[in-house]
């Protein structure tokens, strides 16, 4: 059994690297990524699971890191936009499709799209793409371009 009380040091596997971080059990994964590991791609938005700006990947699936404790990530594989190293097909596709304006939502969308590709290596049906993308909001409303980026991602690989 695990019991954490007060400040504790936990081991996290983030972007292929092992990290040791000192956290309170009530610290959110989002805050620990940003403030302790300096990984600021995941963004705070609504903080209650609606906007998706904080989306990361956990064991290959998208997760909103504002609704997860850092201590819960122990033993799991965390991936953030920094871990894509600028080389993921979705990153080039976003540039080619002009799929961002202010960019605040972009990291979240990149992770949800990358997870979509991880779980569905071949282009899934439109309704599946729509279902996954609906988890994130873009206040600049670049939804058509984002949709195009997903198609480009699949066509380019």
């Amino acid at each position: 059994m695990v019991k954490y009380e007060g400040k504790v040091v936990i081991a996290l596997q983030v972007n292929g690297e092992a990290h040791e971080v000192a956290v309170r059990p009530s610290d959110l994964l989002l805050d620990v990524l940003r403030e302790q590991l300096g990984l600021t791609a995941a963004k705070p938005g609504c903080l209650n699971g609606d906007c998706g700006a904080c989306t990361i990947m956990l064991d290959g699936w998208p997760v909103k890191s504002c609704l997860m404790l850092a201590v819960e990530a122990e033993g799991h594989v965390v991936l953030t936009v920094e871990g894509l190293n600028g080389t993921a097909p979705i990153q080039k596709a976003f540039v080619d499709a002009d799929a961002f304006q202010c960019g605040y939502c972009t990291s979240g969308f990149l992770m949800v799209c990358h997870a979509l590709k991880t779980q569905n290596p071949l282009m899934p049906k439109e309704n599946i793409i729509e279902e996954w993308l609906q988890s994130n909001l873009c206040r600049c409303t670049g939804y058509q371009e984002i949709r195009r980026a997903v198609r480009l991602m699949y066509e380019s690989t």
């Binding site: 059990p25 959110l28 903080l47 209650n48 997760v63 909103k64 609704l67 201590v71 819960e72 279902e131």
Partner: protein, 279 residues
């Protein structure tokens, strides 16, 4: 940021979890079972709850099962809505899970969390109530397996320190004709104005609802009204609406009058589809 500290426990067994709960309770300290955490984290962040400890039950093997066993489908309480959908084992439940929150949240929200949460819709209860599911609970007084309907009325009626371990669904429900529809006020992803789940058993429709009242429910009286083959759709729907167990729910998403309008239209559509063999 959660502006206070709590103790985090991650037990490996049901007994450990219940022991932690009892020990803290005997000291007058508030503990909560923690599954997907989406509701607990938000409530802690906004200050609506301030537990002394959270007991993360995701490491307990019995709570994570998702398999067919002995003519029943077992779904562990910490299975996420997405795991349940991806398993494709229970088509009606798959439809219900696919309409709760959004896909990314479905990768965290658990079956137990949805049934026990404070948000009133608890939409996973609908397929379970229709399928005569049983539920296994564990707490300081031990384990019990009971029909879900005996412990779920309006919300889960748990004894202090009790947690959901899993639900068991009889196999007939996994292949039965079924129907699910969720109507929202604006966006597709939203709380329901009205959610209706239906399943066919012995040539009769069973129906359960969320959104139309302040709690989810299955009503056998309403089912009888809706199954009267000799009456018109209009008459059946009117009669069913008169049998709602409480006044229609109203909030900023929809007035009572509007919800009732949507409810009646939805039921009528359902009966038509049923009649035309579309279900």
């Amino acid at each position: 940021m959660i502006p206070f500290n709590f103790i985090y426990y991650r037990p490996d067994s049901l007994q450990e979890a219940a022991d932690i709960y009892s020990t803290l309770q005997s000291k007058g300290q508030k503990a909560v079972y923690f599954a997907g955490g989406s509701e607990i984290i938000t409530m802690c962040r906004t200050g609506s709850i301030q537990p002394k400890a959270v007991i993360d039950i995701k490491n307990i093997p019995e709570c994570g099962l998702l398999s067919l066993y002995n003519q029943k489908l077992q779904i562990g309480s910490v299975c996420t809505l997405n795991q349940i959908s991806e398993s494709k084992l229970f088509p009606l439940m798959r439809l219900a899970c696919g309409r709760i929150a959004d896909h990314t949240n479905q990768c965290r929200i658990t079956l137990g969390g949805n049934l026990c949460g404070s948000i009133i819709y608890r939409e996973t209860s609908l397929p379970l109530l229709l399928a005569d599911a049983e539920i296994t609970l564990y707490g300081p007084e031990g384990e019990r397996t009971v029909p879900l309907r005996s412990v779920f009325y309006q919300c889960m009626q748990l004894k202090p320190g009790e947690m959901i371990v899993q639900v068991q669904i009889p196999v007939w429900a996994l292949s039965a004709r079924h129907y699910h529809i969720k109507k929202t006020a604006n966006e597709k992803i939203d709380y329901p104005l009205v959610s209706v789940a239906a399943i066919c058993k012995d040539s009769k429709l069973r129906l359960a609802f969320s959104g139309i009242c302040s709690y989810p429910f299955r009503s056998e009286q309403m089912e009888s009204a809706l199954n009267q083959q000799t009456k018109s759709f209009e008459e059946r729907v009117k009669q069913a609406a008169e049998l709602l167990p409480e006044p229609v729910y109203a909030d900023a998403e929809g007035s009572g009058e509007y919800r009732l309008f949507v409810f009646k239209n939805t039921l009528r559509q359902l009966l038509e589809d049923w009649d035309n063999g579309k279900i």
